[in-house]
């Protein structure tokens, strides 16, 4: 597994280096983060022996607050604003307080890349090209074939990905018509008629966002084809993200990549409108007041309005390895002494 992991990472670098993307290597610790209401972070502090906290940085009782990045976005957007152009990064990322499960690890490896003067559908093309590159390089018969590689899965990762909008997927796999996306009331009616338990009409305590996620997770996600890549596009804009809205539609310019039924990557045409950036920050900061681990917001995000138009993709490298090897648990593909290095699936069968 260690060799396969190294090869996937090396081939990923080769793919982006050949296309003249700049590899960046930004810090894992940050004094402030782009707030994401549904992601909890790890907090620590920098202790200065002279007792002086860093200027302009939140302080804890003992020192200057630092946070482990949940994604390198906060730094890469600064570099994009500064004009560095196309760039990629392979970075460890940290997410706190996620329910443990076979597809989650609190520390994981993310591939994040940004392409300037490009939109989310251009990034979908690049993703197809990356999958093609990895699939053909890993199965190159002139090289030793990694034992763990699953031939079926490599076939299932061959592009082109099936491109399908979220509303098409709802219609195709759950028989839910596009009208369901016209506001919280319609979404709730659709959820109720599909058999989900919902609050009575007039009770607005369940958001459009939550209703949409429950519908998607219950009726659509598991039905997505597993024998070919799927790029699911145009999520409802009512799910607050930093993706641009598709003008005159209720949908945002973003997609998620599913390989063998596992969500592996997501992509946005990055929002640059200063007012929308500010209102996202305001919404996310408010939501973060209820977070288990609060953190200061990276206000510099608003300066991203002067960055060139761009599209960004974040891809979970460990999940990609899970897909390539048909691993059932992310711990089978991660170096870790806690779990036993590359834990075998039999090791603790039945502990779930």
């Amino acid at each position: 597994m260690a060799q396969l992991r190294a090869r996937v990472i090396a081939e990923t670098r080769k793919f982006f280096d050949q296309r003249l993307y700049l590899e960046v290597d930004t810090p894992l610790l940050a004094p402030a983060l782009i707030p994401e209401p549904h992601i909890e972070v790890f907090a620590t502090e920098h202790r200065n022996p002279n007792g002086n906290a860093d200027a302009g940085v939140a302080t804890t009782r003992r020192g200057a607050a630092r946070f482990l990045i949940p994604s390198p976005e906060v730094w890469m957007k600064e570099l994009l604003t500064a004009g560095y152009g196309n760039m990629y990064q392979l970075s460890h990322c940290f997410r706190n307080a996620e329910s443990t499960g076979p597809q989650h690890s609190s520390e994981f490896t993310m591939l994040e890349w940004y392409t300037v003067n490009a939109d989310y559908m251009d990034s979908a093309d690049h993703t197809d090209a990356l999958l093609e590159h990895l699939a053909s390089e890993l199965t190159d018969h002139r090289l030793p074939r990694p034992a763990q590689l699953s031939a079926d899965r490599i076939r299932a990762c061959r592009p082109p990905a099936l491109r399908l909008s979220v509303s098409e997927a709802f219609e195709r796999y759950a028989g839910i018509e596009a009208g369901a996306f016209d506001g919280v009331e319609r979404m709730r009616e659709a959820a109720a008629s599909a058999g989900l338990s919902v609050r009575p009409a007039g009770d607005e305590s369940e958001s459009y966002d939550d209703l949409f996620q429950r519908m998607f997770l219950t009726f659509v996600e598991e039905k997505l084809p597993a024998d070919r890549p799927v790029i699911l596009t145009d999520y409802p804009a009512a799910v607050p993200t930093l993706a641009e809205q598709n003008p005159d539609t209720p949908f945002a310019r973003r997609w998620e990549l599913y390989l063998a039924g596992i969500e592996v990557a997501n992509c946005y045409s990055e929002e640059r409108d200063p007012d929308r950036l500010r209102s996202y920050l305001q919404y996310a900061e408010e939501a973060k007041l209820r977070a288990l681990v609060p953190h200061p917001a990276a206000k510099g995000l608003v300066a991203f309005s002067s960055a060139p138009a761009c599209s960004g993709v974040a891809l979970g490298v460990d999940r990609l390895l899970m897909v390539f090897t048909a691993a059932k648990d992310i711990r089978e593909v991660i170096f870790s002494t806690t779990f036993g290095i590359f834990r075998s699936p039999q090791a603790d069968r039945g502990s779930e």
Partner: protein, 187 residues
């Protein structure tokens, strides 16, 4: 009430006023949305199956279940007959919903029965049990690709792939979760 984060396979819930048992559970953290637990629920009365996705920050009513020890007596067409280990009261458990567990129930053995109010709803089988091999072909040349195994039938009707040295009449230890052969038992 319990937090959805505590829901496990086998947890019993009151959902929309009906008792359900969780038969499948998966945590989902979409990152761009709240955290959810995706479950498959089996109605404890009708056996009908329901799929739901519950936000982990909400809370759910837990069904008040308890267990009792009972001896498994025999099977009828569609029910399994048990006798309470203390009161000697006899009762039945429907075949519906026991699925592959019936392969791990041996007549005369005592099992834990999960009860909801007065209704027996599930039988709990140990993680590993000993079964006698009742049908095994002698001298089958093993399938060398899969490491020399052959299929045998056990006293409960369960088919297991075992190493070729296992003979009819041998006792073998079987994992009841995976249905896999563990080892031969000398007794």
């Amino acid at each position: 009430m319990i937090r959805p984060g505590q829901i496990a396979k086998g947890t019993c819930l009151i959902w929309k006023g009906e008792p359900y048992m969780v038969t499948e559970r998966e945590f989902v953290n979409p990152g761009k949305g709240a955290a959810f637990v995706r479950v498959k629920l089996k109605n404890l009365r009708s056996g009908s199956v329901l799929r739901e996705t519950i936000k982990t920050s909400e809370s759910v009513e837990e069904a008040d279940v308890f267990d009792r020890d009972a001896q498994y007596l025999y099977a009828d067409d569609s029910v399994y007959n048990f006798m309470d280990a203390e009161s000697y009261e006899q009762f039945t458990v429907g075949r519906n919903g026991l699925e592959e567990k019936v392969f791990y129930m041996k007549e005369g053995e005592t099992y834990r029965i999960i009860m909801w109010e007065t209704t027996p709803i599930d039988v709990s089988v140990p993680l590993k049990i000993v079964l006698e091999v009742t049908e095994a072909d002698e001298g089958v040349r093993g399938d060398t690709v899969t490491g020399a195994t052959k299929p045998v039938k056990t006293e409960t009707g369960l088919e297991v792939r075992v190493p070729i040295f296992i003979k009819q009449g041998d006792k073998i230890l079987v994992n009841t979760e995976s249905g896999d052969y563990v080892e031969r038992v000398n007794q």
